[in-house]
């Protein structure tokens, strides 16, 4: 029963994908939309069933289908593990997935390749489910690479634009750099423990008496590189802002709520491993904090509405990694969930705005949309308040916990994270003010067509806004349902170490005040002074560096891409020719020797006879005298 249901859970989106791929055109738009959405909704329904079941039984469900890959010292089976963690992840993957499918019906309605879009989305959900429920690292790796593929396909959905294709390619390749790290980590774990199965790995690590710490750390570090690639951490984060080339629902689903959290999922899944390697943990924490800060600073000056959200995502992911690095996995998971709600809401809201403005993404050409699009405005405002950490919204609880943990472990990290969250509040409200307040700065024609989006778009927004408001309830300070729920996975709770005391309340207050200061600054600058960001060419000073994202893309281009291309040209034109002429040279030498040798055979009978006689002498003397 469970096996069958798990298969339904997994293959419903895949079936949707197959139907949309093969019959999408014949079915027509509305049918393919319905099938696409329904297939994910079915998964969601099954997930709820499993969720209810596991909430009662507290028993993980393990399903082994068949042997997949065989290595000399172990076998990798194709199996699934449905436990608290994976079901939790499934809940928001399929839940938000369904909402975004619903949203896409309206958003993508005018696109001629509607069925392809839904097919890709379904395929993504399928791979994401595989990633989450795989019972070992290699099955997870199928999903891991699969979601990368879908991300590639969806970023490059409008394939006629080569810039989008470049962005898609970049995303795939950067992900693959991380994937190599992940594979190396898998190899090392394979050598060390002869298994890739989570459960066996856990017992093996727990039961091992003399662990090779060097290799263990290497494995953890390699896995972390994999997580960096997928979750857009320094140094592999540059693909995520570019990935905004894809349709907005894609950005919401893949590049905000689900796929980018895969790295966090993996590290949480292997918490028993990372707990043993404090060095790697501190690397993770530092990388997370730095990413949070760097991305936030870049986000301060971006003018593309989706770019701001993208950097905000990177920044938030950095905060999650900070929590992971500090061993507070449950806090990271909590933030993943709340972030999924409010960030999906923000992206979908921005999509709604872009939809209304017929594809305009530059905030300098927006403004004053409050009246025209009230629902979008209110939902986005709620989400912005949540992300800024305003009390009683979900983001407040999760972010605050991260800051608390940081404060308890390392004050500098806490400072960095706090600065990042103040910046977050600032740029989010900069976005809000520029988009929805003041006067409309676009063309007259756009102004004329301003309208609230249809209900299929606003419904998901409302649902997500509600979730962004109340999402914090799952883990209230003091009494955390989430922590209890996750106990089988995470036996040591980092956040449980501290109780609410004066320090904690003070920290909360600092965070809240910080958030409000950020909002206030944005209000002062963009409402009171009524500033509009300058044109690209007029940006100067440090903000130019920020606007150009610290020139990281250019630096990578100069360090990696250009040298490889130059090397390729060098190999192609010089080395290949040299090797080729070496072989031809060998032929030429042979030819030359033969040409010279030909001269001996000049046809002179006299010479022939002389050689003949000498040869005769040689042979005769060899035969008779050589004994």
């Amino acid at each position: 029963m469970d096996t069958n249901l798990a298969l339904v859970l997994l293959f419903a989106p895949f079936l949707g994908f197959l139907i949309n791929v093969f019959f999408g055109k014949t079915l027509g738009k509305s049918l393919s939309e319905i099938i696409g959405t329904l297939s994910v909704a079915v998964s969601f329904a099954v997930t709820i069933y499993f969720f209810l079941q596991i909430n009662q039984t507290k028993q993980a469900i393990n399903i082994d289908l068949f042997d997949w890959i065989q290595i000399s010292n172990f076998k990798v089976s194709f199996g699934f593990l449905l436990d608290q963690l994976s079901i939790l992840w499934l809940l928001f993957v399929t839940g938000i997935g369904s909402l975004i499918h619903l949203y896409s019906i309206s958003y993508m309605h005018d696109d001629e390749k509607m069925h392809t879009f839904f097919a890709y989305l379904n395929l993504f959900v399928f791979f994401m489910i595989t990633l989450v429920i795989g019972s070992n690292l290699l099955v997870m790796f199928i999903g891991w690479e699969g979601v990368g593929l879908c991300s590639y396909l969806l970023i490059g959905f409008w394939y006629k634009n080569q810039e989008y294709n470049d962005a898609a390619k970049k995303a795939f390749i950067m992900n693959r750099i991380g994937d190599l790290g992940l594979l190396i980590g898998i190899f090392i774990l394979g050598h060390l423990f002869s298994t890739l199965d989570y459960a066996t790995l856990k017992t093996a690590i727990a039961g091992a008496t003399d662990l090779n710490m060097y290799w263990l750390s290497a494995a953890a570090f390699a896995l972390f590189i994999g997580a960096c690639g997928k979750s857009a951490q320094i140094p592999l984060y540059t693909w995520l802002p570019d990935a905004m080339a894809g349709p907005t629902p894609v950005s919401a689903l893949i590049h905000a709520a689900t796929m980018v959290t895969a790295g966090i999922f993996m590290i949480t899944r292997l918490n028993f491993l990372f707990d043993l390697t404090p060095d790697v943990q501190s690397i993770i924490a530092v990388v997370g904090a730095v990413t949070a800060l760097v991305a936030a600073t870049i986000g301060l000056v971006q003018n593309d509405i989706k770019k701001v959200l993208a950097y905000s995502t990177v920044s938030q992911l950095g905060l999650m990694f900070l929590a992971l690095g500090l061993g507070a996995y449950e806090v990271a998971v909590f933030h993943v969930i709340t972030h999924a709600f409010f960030k999906a809401c923000l992206f979908l809201g921005s999509g709604s705005v872009i939809h209304a403005l017929h594809g305009e993404q530059d905030m300098r050409k927006m403004g004053g949309l409050k009246k025209a699009m009230p629902i979008t405005f209110i939902t986005m405002l709620i989400a912005s308040l949540a992300i800024s950490g305003v009390p009683l919204f979900s983001g407040f609880f999760s972010k605050d916990e991260i800051l608390l943990v940081a404060f308890h472990h390392n004050i500098p990290l806490w400072v960095v994270a706090s600065v990042a969250s103040i910046m977050t509040a600032f740029y989010m409200f900069r976005l809000m003010f520029l988009t929805f307040f003041q006067e409309f700065r676009g063309t007259e024609e756009q102004k004329h067509h301003l309208h609230e989006s249809p209900s299929l778009i606003t419904f998901p927004l409302i649902v997500l806004a509600i979730l962004a408001t109340i999402g914090g309830l799952i883990s209230l300070p003091g009494h955390s349902w989430l922590n209890e729920y996750l106990t089988p996975i995470l036996p040591k709770l980092a956040s449980a170490e501290h109780h609410l005391g004066t320090t904690e309340y003070m920290l909360m207050a600092i965070a809240v005040v910080g958030g409000l200061v950020g909002i206030g600054l944005a209000y002062a600058k963009y409402i009171k002074q009524n500033t509009v960001p300058t044109e690209d060419s007029e940006i100067t000073g440090f903000s130019k560096v920020l606007y150009n994202k610290y020139y990281v893309d250019e630096i990578y281009d100069a360090i990696f891409v250009k040298p490889i291309n130059v090397l390729s040209l060098f190999f192609r034109d010089t080395i290949e020719t040299a090797l080729s002429s070496l072989v031809f040279g060998l032929g030429k030498v042979t030819n030359e020797i033969s040409f010279q040798g030909k001269k001996i055979q000049n046809g002179s009978i006299g010479l022939y006879l002389l050689v003949f006689v000498l040869g005769l002498c040689a042979i005769v003397s060899y035969l008779f005298l050589a004994q």
Binding site: Q601, N602, G603, S604, I605, G606, Y608, L609, L610, V613
Partner: protein, 106 residues
């Protein structure tokens, strides 16, 4: 009947024919005139024939002489054909110096 070799010694015949053969070889290598080369070849043939006959006597066996008989027949045929070839070469090239015969060149 006494064997004549008792008085001369087979080794003398061997030396004689060896030297005669070498003279033939020398002639072939030394001269460029195809006719003289031919003659030198005849000298070599005769050196061998002489040795055959000497050993025929040594072994008191007629087979050596029979062989000489055949080799003479072959030599006659060879000379006839060879000279005919020389004549036609001479007709075509106007000379029979073997240095001119370089058609064997590859």
């Amino acid at each position: 009947m006494n064997n004549i070799l008792n008085q001369i010694g087979i080794e003398n015949y061997i030396f004689l024919s060896v030297i005669l053969f070498c003279i033939g070889v020398f002639g072939v290598l030394y001269r460029r005139n195809a006719i003289i080369v031919f003659m030198s070849i005849e000298i070599m043939l005769n050196a061998v024939n002489l040795l055959f006959v000497a050993f025929s006597t040594y072994h008191q066996d007629a087979q050596g002489q029979v062989f000489v008989f055949f080799s003479m027949a072959v030599a006659a045929a060879e000379v006839a054909v060879g000279l005919a070839i020389l004549v036609s070469i001479f007709r075509n090239l106007g000379s029979i110096t073997i240095d001119n015969l370089k058609n064997l060149k590859g």
